[in-house]
Amino acid sequence: MNKVYAGFAEAVADIGDQATVMVGGFTGRGTPSRLLLALREKGPKNLTIVRNDASGGWKNPIDVDILIEAGMVKKVITCFAVFGSPKKVSRLERAALDGKVEVELVPQGTLAERIRAGGAGIGAFYTPVGVGTEAGVGKEVRVIDGREMLLEFALKADFALVKAYRSDSLGNLVYRKSARNFNPLMAMAAKTTIAEVEHIVEPGGIDPNDVMTPCVFVHRIVEAGNGE
């Protein structure tokens, strides 16, 4: 039942080929950079990555695009595949244009909700977002309350790599400011959730009212410090 791992390599050692991996963070904020570096080092192939933004290019240079560049990724489910300006080509865009990586583009709120549904045992849901757009192609439409809505299915993963500010050694997580974003959702949606945390405290060190991800959702914790 000990969830605290000494190193990042150890924590990602069983992420194998074909795994589906969710990666928390929004731009660089709340991104588990150390786990991403360890995963690149470990080097599994044909990963499916679920991540808000996959273009890279933010202030934090360690992002999921390092896995794409390393040729480890076969598919990316994301909201941001490219930069706004067509002049700047993201690693994902290049890989996709070369036919090396498949991209499933999802509206951001729908991505958040699909991940939450995956963790919550909800099979699918109807959202008004994306109707009549490329996001709705091939999807069922149903009129609810006079409004057309798309049927969207839950997303689950084999692993979630999340970043937290604090954790107790049981795995109760607290996030800080806008670094929360997708982390609590992904923590719920994976068979194995691995948290990179800045500080690990003893049980009792976090007020039960302040826990943002209860320990039931977290399987491994590695302390990173805050010096990234």
């Binding site: 929004f26 731009t27 660089g28 904020r29 709340g30 808000n52 933004d53 273009s55 933010w58 202030k59 909201c79 941001f80 595949a81 490219v82 930069f83 706004g84 067509p86 994902l92 865009e93 996709a96 244009l97 991209v103 583009l105 999802v106 509206p107 951001q108 709120g109 729908t110 958040a112 909700e113 991940i115 939450r116 959202t127 008004p128 977002v129 994306g130 109707v131 009549g132 757009t133 490329e134 996001a135 500010y165 996030y175 800080r176 400011k177 806008s178 670094a179 929360r180 974003n181 997708f182 982390n183 609590p184 959702l185 943002m212 990234e228």
Partner: protein
């Protein structure tokens, strides 16, 4: 068009004009890019709670150099601050707020807006891949959608069109369009030209606009 160049509103003037359009709104999301400039033009006596879809309600000014916080940014990865009374939330809750119709308004950039208020703003037609970001949710969910864009493309192509030819962001979602020459409302009767930039006539604006404009209510550009 060349002869009119000197009277096109600047991006800052457009942002100022959009700010005026937010009178009475309190919970507002500014899209990534040009719309973010609107925050600089909110009058000091008027408080707005800006939402950022990465999970902040109450975004404040950009962080001063040296005071950046690695855990605090807006949806465009800018280092920002928060105002008193702000809150942080996860992405699901941020989008519950958006999709659930809890925001008074959103300001989005645009490539094209159609006569019926369809918006295209996420991908140029010649590009294979794009980014949806949060635009589709914002366009569908916010109670009022203001689009801020130049009236025509750099090549002079009309952007306010009968039907969008660019990939759609959402159908029938736009309330008001603020361009560098006009303010136009999307209504059940059609597009209503509400304001015109200095030096322009309704007929000038109509020439650069594909669908017919209802021009009889047109007034001069509001200056705050």
């Amino acid at each position: 068009m060349a002869s009119k160049t000197e009277t096109l509103m600047t991006i800052e003037e457009m942002a100022e004009r959009v700010a005026h359009e937010l009178d009475g709104d309190y919970f507002v999301n500014l899209g990534i890019g040009m719309p973010m400039l609107v925050a600089n033009h909110i009058k000091a006596d008027k408080q707005i709670m800006f939402q950022a879809e990465n999970g902040v309600l109450g975004v404040g000014p950009r962080a001063e150099p040296g005071a950046e916080d690695k855990d605090l940014g807006n949806a465009g990865d800018e280092n920002v601050t928060v105002i008193t009374g702000a809150s942080f939330m996860d992405s699901a809750t941020a989008f519950d707020m958006i999709r659930g119709g809890h925001l008074d308004s959103t300001v989005l950039g645009g490539f094209q807006v159609s006569e019926s208020g369809d918006l295209a703003n996420w991908k140029l037609p010649n590009r294979k891949l794009g980014s949806f970001g949060g635009a589709m949710d914002l366009a569908v969910g916010a109670r009022k959608v203001i689009v801020m864009m130049k009236h025509v493309t750099n090549d002079g192509e009309k952007r306010i069109v009968r039907e969008c030819s660019y990939p759609l962001t959402a159908k029938r979602c736009v309330s008001t369009i603020v361009t560098d020459i006009a303010v136009i409302d999307v209504t059940a009767e059609g597009l209503v030209l509400r304001e015109i930039a200095p030096g322009w006539t309704p007929e000038d604006v109509q020439k650069l606009t594909e669908p017919p404009l209802i021009i009889d209510r047109a007034k001069p550009w509001t200056v705050q």
